[in-house]
């Protein structure tokens, strides 16, 4: 039984009980605040996912925050050049724990077609990535799927530990 169903079940009885960890994760995963790190065309698809046609708000992510201190998830959408990489690291460090990272599209994941001296060949060489989204660029549906995967991770988050992430999900463990 999901926590939403439990709430409905207990509504008539005047009280409900749960673990603090589960309550925090429930709240967090249904109000995911993204930090858009849009550097290229993938950012356009990311904006489409927030638009009225795909409406990511149906799944529990309404706002984008342009301050890293207020965001839960960073989406790196687009290619990252060697001049941008120190900025990306700085922004990632400014985000408060707990934090997650989505690498959106072929360029952010592997460098894509840009196998040159200017392009970082995958941001996961330097910062931890939780979700890799394939595509060039990915469809907004992939973005919705990525959100749901992030929500699954958030529900498993252990608030007592420092990083709290499930071993099975951690790419760089």
């Amino acid at each position: 039984m999901g926590i939403e169903a439990k709430v409905l079940d207990l509504l008539g009885r005047g009280f409900l009980y749960t673990k603090a960890n589960a309550l925090l994760n429930w709240g967090r995963s249904n109000s995911v605040w993204f930090l858009p790190f849009g550097t290229a065309c993938c950012a356009i698809e990311m904006m489409a996912a927030y638009g009225p046609r795909y409406d990511i708000a149906r799944f529990g992510s309404e706002v984008m925050r342009f301050s890293p201190r207020q965001a839960d998830v960073m989406i790196v959408s687009g290619r990252v050049a060697i001049k941008m990489m120190p900025i990306l690291i700085k922004v990632w460090r400014q985000m408060a724990e707990p934090k997650w990272c989505i690498s959106m599209g072929a360029c952010a994941c592997t460098g894509g077609i840009f196998n040159t001296y200017t392009m970082v060949q995958g941001i996961d060489k330097f910062i931890p990535v939780d979700i890799y989204m394939p595509g060039c660029p990915p469809r907004p549906e992939t973005m919705l799927d990525a959100l749901m995967e992030i929500q699954k991770m958030m529900k498993k988050y252990d608030n007592r530990s420092r990083t709290g992430k499930d071993e099975a999900y951690s790419i760089n463990a």
């Binding site: 060697i82 001049k83 196998n115 001296y117 200017t118 392009m119 330097f126």
Partner: protein, 173 residues
Amino acid sequence: MKPIPLMRELAQAEIEQISGFLGKSLIESASYQGQLSIIISRENFHNNMKFLKHDMAFDLLTNLTAVDNLNYPDYKKAERFAIIYELFSTTTGRRLRIKVLLLEEHAELSSVVDIWKSAIWQEREVYDLFGIDFIGHPDLRRILMPDYFEHHPLRKDYPLEGLGERDNFEKVY
């Protein structure tokens, strides 16, 4: 106001005036579709450019770029780099293309910033990517690559995938 024609052929008298002033500095000239392209020598270069601006009314520097001739079939060491200037006259509608050949070990040329102000960023770009030293440039810094970058990436002896700059960042886990 009468519109300026975008392209008008150089009159024979003007060609003679240019070649007369340049004299021994003129190494080679070619004409294609009424556009004159000339190769001039490094000696007396700055004076010749001043003449073209003030006496021949080429008041607009539309483009300034460079070519690395290494790996060309008939490559000679004395012609490693070619700096190319494309001039346009907003009063007469004439165009002129100028090429200056540079030695590999003396990749330097006097700056034309004092003649055409628009050269200031273009010379910075050529310096950044080809390592050509423009003598007399007021602010010769890199413009595209990061300041800590050590090489000049559009030189043909620089590998396409770089010398490890793109793998050289701090890992944040």
